[in-house]
């Protein structure tokens, strides 16, 4: 990746990451988060980790962020207005942030931290090499993780299973109406 592109995308990533925390409307924050994730995916792809980059887009930007959107709609998350906290909290927050920034600066500018560039063989991020590692070296870990995730899915479905009465009422309608009310309320506050 050429240096100017790296700097440009890096700046863009930082700006959109700041947008996630600075903006008051949760939907705007969500969109900033999506753009941050997309830029990070471009970084992966630029560094030859093509599969990881695309998986980042498919899984995080494409699927998980949609779930975030649903949750924001369903939980009636509203745009924050007015004062955001007590003055004491703000002072402590600023102090903590300044401390963190100083620490990061000292750590990164320390002389012992020499950047060692390791040139990976070309194609190290390809699907073939990834799959080869996953299904040979790390097969057991991979399968165990799959089973764990499957168990989590089954558990979630079992917990979320509706009682029969609710089904009669048409729970999906109820849920859609709830989401709509939530978004309406969010906009009223914002407007």
């Amino acid at each position: 990746m050429p240096p100017f592109l790296y700097l440009f995308l890096g700046a863009l990533a930082i700006v959109s990451a700041l947008g996630v925390v600075v903006q008051r409307n949760p939907i705007h924050s969500l969109l900033s988060l999506i753009s941050t994730l997309l830029i990070i995916a471009i970084f992966f792809i630029g560094e030859d980790a093509v599969v990881v980059g695309f998986l980042q887009i498919i899984v995080y930007a494409g699927a998980i962020m949609v779930l975030f959107l649903f949750v924001i709609w369903l939980l009636n998350l509203q745009a924050e207005i007015g004062p955001t906290g007590h003055v004491v909290l703000k002072v402590f927050g600023s102090l903590a942030a300044a401390a963190l920034a100083t620490e990061l600066f000292l750590f990164l500018s320390a002389p012992h931290l020499e950047v060692k560039m390791v040139r990976e063989p070309s194609g190290y991020g390809s699907l073939a090499s990834l799959a080869g590692k996953l299904f040979n070296e790390y097969l057991v870990a991979f399968e165990v993780t799959s089973v764990l995730l499957l168990a989590a899915v089954v558990g979630a479905v079992a917990l979320a299973r509706r009682i029969p009465d609710e089904v009669e009422l048409g729970a999906s309608d109820v849920r859609a109406a709830t989401a709509m009310r939530a978004a309406d309320a969010a906009r009223r506050v914002q407007g």
């Binding site: 939907i27 599969v51 498919i58 978004a183």
Partner: protein, 371 residues
């Protein structure tokens, strides 16, 4: 290097133009083709000089559909409703169109072509992880629709947006599973390699197209693709009899046209994907690099340039045929109910997709070969 860069840009623009022209064809077919299927006359009013009528030709409605309607749309007021999120309301149509447009560049529309000593691959970008790119960009199409529904400050829009989001993430899964079984069959994620793998014949006459190996995956991708492009019978997000116009109720003028274009371009894209994965892409039946090898054993030599061009023509014909088929489905079936839609997606297509992947895996392991 420079030649390749310029060629890449030309190919990308060419591919997007093919997609847009298919969308325009679909716009016409939407009006006149639907009339043909419904046994109606369809749009036949506008005519500049009465040229066709003078010679006793039927009015084909081209002025109506391709000149008058778009002109009307683009000259209308661009309205943003009160209380809407102005920025996102404007951004949403582009968020919807952009992922579709960038997906066109990985569709191979021909074999290599040699011009002036340079050999060009007729695919805008030959990505090794092409199928992953495809899934990634298709997955991003949700946001335009969802944001349009939310930012409009209208309940119909929001309901349309919620429906669209749920529908698209549900059918993406079935779509992914169908594509996975194709990838397993051909042993590559590279779309150009998948098309190359479909060259040649079985039993001396049957082209080695993906549809004959993976018929179930073809039906899965066809159904999921129709659902992804939000067409009837899957047009719940915009169902005009229930939700006015769904997620783009509050859009007018050019922005509404962009949403309509997105739907049509998506339909063209689905036709291209089906062609690439199942109908041999640019493979012309019985045409090899050197010429036609007909089933009877006869041979007809064809020059190399003509072979390349015949490949492009084969690709376009297949895509067009599939576009028309998708349009016929659209004008034949009634709309699903929402619970039927979800049941079909999660209890019908997804288990079938998993089953298909399993069967494919067993066959590959059992016979020890791919394809």
């Amino acid at each position: 290097m420079t030649v390749e860069l310029i060629a890449g840009a030309i190919k990308a623009i060419l591919m997007i133009l093919i997609g847009l022209h298919l969308a325009i064809f679909l716009l016409y077919f939407e009006r006149k083709g639907s009339a043909l299927i419904h046994d109606r006359i369809g749009s036949n009013r506008a005519s500049i000089t009465g040229f066709g009528k003078r010679f006793g030709l039927p009015n084909l409605g081209i002025i109506n559909t391709l000149v008058a309607d778009p002109l009307k749309l683009f000259t209308k007021e661009d309205f943003i409703p009160d209380g809407a999120d102005k920025f996102l309301h404007t951004l949403a149509p582009f968020l919807a169109l952009f992922p579709v447009m960038i997906t066109f560049v990985i569709i191979p529309f021909g074999d290599t072509i040699s011009i002036a000593g340079h050999k060009f691959d007729l695919q805008a970008t030959n990505l090794n992880a092409g199928a992953l790119y495809l899934l990634a960009t298709l997955g991003l199409g949700v946001y335009g629709v969802a944001i349009a529904g939310w930012a409009s400050n209208n309940r119909w829009s929001l309901l349309g947006g919620i429906r669209a989001t749920a529908q698209m993430i549900s059918y993406e899964l079935a779509m992914g599973l169908a594509i996975v079984s194709v990838i397993m069959t051909f042993g590559t994620l590279n779309l150009q390699e998948i098309v190359r793998g479909q060259g040649g014949v079985w039993f001396g006459f049957l082209p080695r197209w993906g549809i004959f190996v993976q018929p179930l995956a073809f039906i899965l991708l066809l159904t999921a693709g129709a659902a992804e492009s939000k067409r009837v019978p899957f047009d719940l997000p915009e169902s005009e009899s229930e939700l006015i116009l769904g997620y783009f109720t509050e859009y007018s003028g050019g922005k509404q046209a962009v949403f309509m274009l997105t739907d049509l371009a998506e339909q063209a894209l689905i036709a291209m994907l089906l062609t690439t994965f199942f109908l041999g892409g640019w493979q012309f039946p019985w045409l090899m690099r050197d010429g036609f090898h007909f089933p009877g054993g006869s041979f007809l030599a064809v020059p190399a340039l003509a072979v390349s061009i015949l490949g492009i023509i084969a690709f376009l014909v297949k895509v067009l045929a599939l576009c028309i088929f998708l349009g016929m489905v659209r004008w034949t079936l009634p709309r699903f109910r929402y619970d039927q839609l979800m049941r079909l997606g999660w209890k019908g297509l997804v288990p079938l997709g998993i089953l298909n992947v399993l069967i494919t895996a067993f066959v590959i392991v059992g016979t020890g070969s791919t394809h």
